[in-house]
């Protein structure tokens, strides 16, 4: 089944998205953030905590005098490496214990610093490539089933309970496990350290927790004969750091949106744009599939009205991702089944939107999110709504299918809820597997008309954004009716302009690996 859509309009939307994103990319190239610099240290091998449990990457970046920040952390840290002969991990510990300070090494020549950094940069790039090759090998040996890939969340707050839940979900048929983060984490300007057993609404993303879950999923992957993917969140104030940890621990997917943090978490827009870019270059190189967050437009406002904003955001997310070197196959654009169940023909509108997205982004592993906003304590009705969501997903060939839970409105899923959700999805997707191939849309009918309306409204919206510029558009509330000032919001104090001598060895390595032009 194919919608007849105006392909010229689609071309115009893409061209406008390019025009919208190009000036932002120029801004990004002239700036960096504390989170990008911390991620440079993490990639070099800095880990652990220092005084007062402060993570060493934070401790070291914060130890740099503010007037030296514009040059980046790599050169001062490289000078210290060259002079002490320590490796990055040992040097970081020495700085944390007060045995060295970066200021001691100001006289060491830049060339010596670059030389000292080079082997560790190469080692990190090699490790990322190795982890990617490991994934490829496993995927070819124990491949996943045909999409939609069933994706479930675990969110107990305790990584060990999460592990039990994840293994049980895989046995029931899940192919992707996402560990939801503790609800406050997106606003922490550091990544917590070590295994964690307490969290609210989710479990902290830490490198140790990544390892624990990866190990468990690798084990069950072998046992079940199909590769199970692991998902976490590169969003909030630590996008690039999470992306670097995920690259090193072989996560397979990361929630990563170019505007979500700005609109829905009041994170500064400049911070977000810079951070998303560096994190996406890392994701591109590590083969990680991003999941974008367009579902949020639909949960915070009316889903019928917001459909054009979803499509516009998808075009913008796609363009940002392309500019970070991501191929379409790694761009999991988001959409959600959130139209009120009371609306006559609401199902038709859902099908229209899902199919429109499928046709406009044919090579993207689309991420389809389940109903949440209109789910209530009536779990029986909720299970039914989820069934129609499942039908829409298989009909329109969505790729990443987040299974809806009948208890969505009640609690983070019980083990039994996940099993029922997977059972529901498996039943629908099996019984209606080729339904979409067997039917055609009525020319000019309700579904085609709705899709055409959404596309033309999206075009009008993108035209407004193109005219205003993306930052100004966000300031004036064009997206989701949320207004965010360019210099307001969380994390703005961590944004800085690069000096002429700014140096980030991973930026050049990642750009080269992704086939992008060098910056300046």
């Amino acid at each position: 089944m194919e919608l007849r859509i105006d392909s010229a309009a689609v071309h115009r939307c893409r061209a406008m998205a390019q025009a919208v994103v190009a000036p932002v990319e120029e801004f990004i190239a002239a700036h960096s953030t504390v989170a990008v610099e911390r991620s440079v240290l993490r990639l070099l091998g800095v880990d652990g905590v220092g005084p007062d449990e402060i993570p060493l990457p934070n401790y070291i970046v914060d130890s740099l005098p503010i007037e030296q920040r514009p040059h980046g952390i790599a050169l001062p840290f490289g000078r210290a490496l060259a002079q002490t002969g320590l490796d990055p991990a040992a040097l970081a510990v020495a700085i944390g214990e007060g045995r060295h300070t970066l200021a001691e090494f100001d006289d060491v020549p830049s060339e010596a610093a670059r030389g000292a950094l080079a082997p560790f940069v190469a080692a990190a790039m090699h490790r990322i490539a190795e982890r990617r090759a490991e994934r490829d090998e496993r995927l070819s040996r124990i491949p996943q089933l045909e999409p939609p890939l069933l994706y479930v969340i675990v969110a107990s707050g305790n990584i060990y309970e999460d592990r039990t839940a994840a293994v049980a979900a895989v046995e029931a048929g899940a192919q992707i496990i996402a560990v939801i983060r503790s609800t406050g984490q997106s606003l922490l300007d550091f990544v917590p350290y070590g295994p964690t057993t307490e969290g609210f609404g989710g479990t902290y993303a830490t490198q140790a927790n990544f390892t624990i879950m990866r190990t468990a999923l690798d084990e069950i992957s072998e046992r079940s004969g199909r590769y199970v993917m692991l998902t976490n969140y590169a969003s909030g104030l630590c996008m690039p750091e999470i992306a670097s940890m995920a690259a090193l621990e072989r996560l397979d997917m990361l929630l990563n949106d170019s505007m979500y943090g700005i609109l829905f978490r009041d994170i500064n827009m400049k911070r977000t744009f810079i951070d998303q870019h560096f994190s996406r270059m890392l994701n591109a190189c590590s083969g990680i599939i991003i999941n974008t967050g367009e579902d949020n437009y639909l949960t915070t406002a009316d889903a019928v009205e917001q459909a054009p904003a979803v499509l516009a955001s998808q075009f913008i997310n796609e363009e940002f991702a392309h500019r970070a070197g991501m191929p379409d196959a790694q761009i999991g654009l988001g959409d959600a089944y959130e139209i009120t169940p009371d609306l006559q023909d609401g199902f038709l509108y859902q099908v229209a939107q899902a199919q429109l997205t499928r046709q406009i982004f044919p090579d993207a592993p689309l991420k389809y999110m389940p109903p949440t906003k209109h789910m209530t304590g009536d779990i029986f009705k909720g299970h039914l709504i989820d069934a129609l969501f499942n039908l829409t997903s298989v009909m329109t060939k969505q790729t990443i299918h987040l299974c809806g839970m009948l208890t969505e409105a009640i609690h983070t899923p019980f083990l039994g809820d996940r099993a029922l959700a997977i059972d529901n999805a498996q039943y629908i997707m099996n019984t209606a597997r080729h339904f979409g191939d067997e039917i055609e849309f009525k020319a000019g009918g309700r579904i085609e008309t709705r899709a055409a309306d959404v596309l033309s409204q999206c075009e009008a919206l993108l035209a407004r954004v193109t005219e205003m510029g993306l930052m100004r558009a966000i300031e004036t509330g064009v997206f989701a009716d949320v207004k965010r000032p360019a210099d307001g919001g969380r994390g703005f104090d961590g944004v800085f302009a690069r000096s002429d001598t700014y140096f980030n060895p991973f930026e050049s390595a990642l750009r080269q690996a992704a086939g992008l032009e060098a910056v300046r």
């Binding site: 046995e171 029931a172 503790s182 406050g184 829905f264 009316d302 609690h411 083990l415 039994g416």
Partner: protein, 246 residues
């Protein structure tokens, strides 16, 4: 049995039939079905039927059970006062405030603590509102601030003092491990400690909130799922008048 005592109704008065489902951390077998049956019997149920029992993962089994309860309840004697007693439209509320309060009412709402789920507070405050009922931002006689998500209790109280708020709306969606109760309690206690409690209408909201629970926590009202903005607005206006908050 008194006429007022009621029991769950299956298909016959007083049959007491109840459905339930649960997971046990054991592998499925016929013995697992029997374990589920005996467990439900231990809960005090009678005529227990395990209608579905199956493995959902290694070491976990899921059951659907029907059973009869011997208990009944005097439903007529139960009291749970609702805060939604005053049915007023937006125009009614604005007129009421203009006449009886004589100035604009200052209201702020926030998801407190680490909660980032603003869907509830947005439905009440945002201009657009919920189910065709306009949000408080649209009210002519309300000066409304939506502080958004993850607002520390201390911050909320500081804003209440600095902005001389008349009403505070605290929202909690995440309820894991009692985090909602802790945050609601912390807010009420801090307002008390700062001497502000008597000066404000204090309201909590969220899908798990009930008015009864709110009064136990020291709030003036609690609003749960399905609440309309006008119900909250009417409560604020009428309770300000009742308490002489001008």
């Amino acid at each position: 049995m008194s006429d007022q005592i009621v029991k769950p109704y299956g298909d016959t008065m007083n049959d007491g039939r109840v459905q339930m489902s649960f997971t046990l951390p054991i592998s499925w077998s016929e013995a697992a079905d029997e374990a589920a049956r005996q467990l439900v019997a231990k809960m005090g149920f009678e005529e227990v039927q395990v209608v579905e029992g199956r493995a959902i993962a290694s070491g976990f089994s899921f059951f659907v059970v029907y059973a009869s309860t011997p208990h009944g309840i005097d439903a007529a004697a139960i009291k749970a006062p609702s805060a939604k007693a005053h049915a007023m439209s937006m125009d009614d509320v604005d007129a009421f405030v203009r006449e009886r309060i004589g100035r604009k009412v200052r209201v702020a709402g926030a998801c407190i603590g680490t909660d980032a789920h603003t869907v509830g507070i947005d439905a009440i405050l945002n201009m657009k509102g919920y189910k065709g009922d306009y949000g408080l931002e649209r009210y002519g006689m309300f000066e409304t601030m939506n502080l958004g998500s993850q607002i520390a209790v201390e911050e909320f109280v500081r804003i209440a003092r600095d902005r001389e708020l008349d009403a505070l709306l605290a929202s909690q969606v995440v309820t894991q491990k009692g985090s909602d109760i802790k945050n609601f309690t912390a807010l009420a206690e801090l307002l008390e400690a700062e001497g502000l409690r008597e000066k404000v209408v204090l309201i909590c909201g969220g899908p798990r909130v009930t008015n009864l629970m709110a009064s136990e926590l020291g709030y003036d009202a609690g609003f749960g799922r399905g609440t309309l903005p006008s119900e909250v607005a009417a409560f604020i206006a009428t309770s300000m008048e009742k308490r002489g908050l001008r």
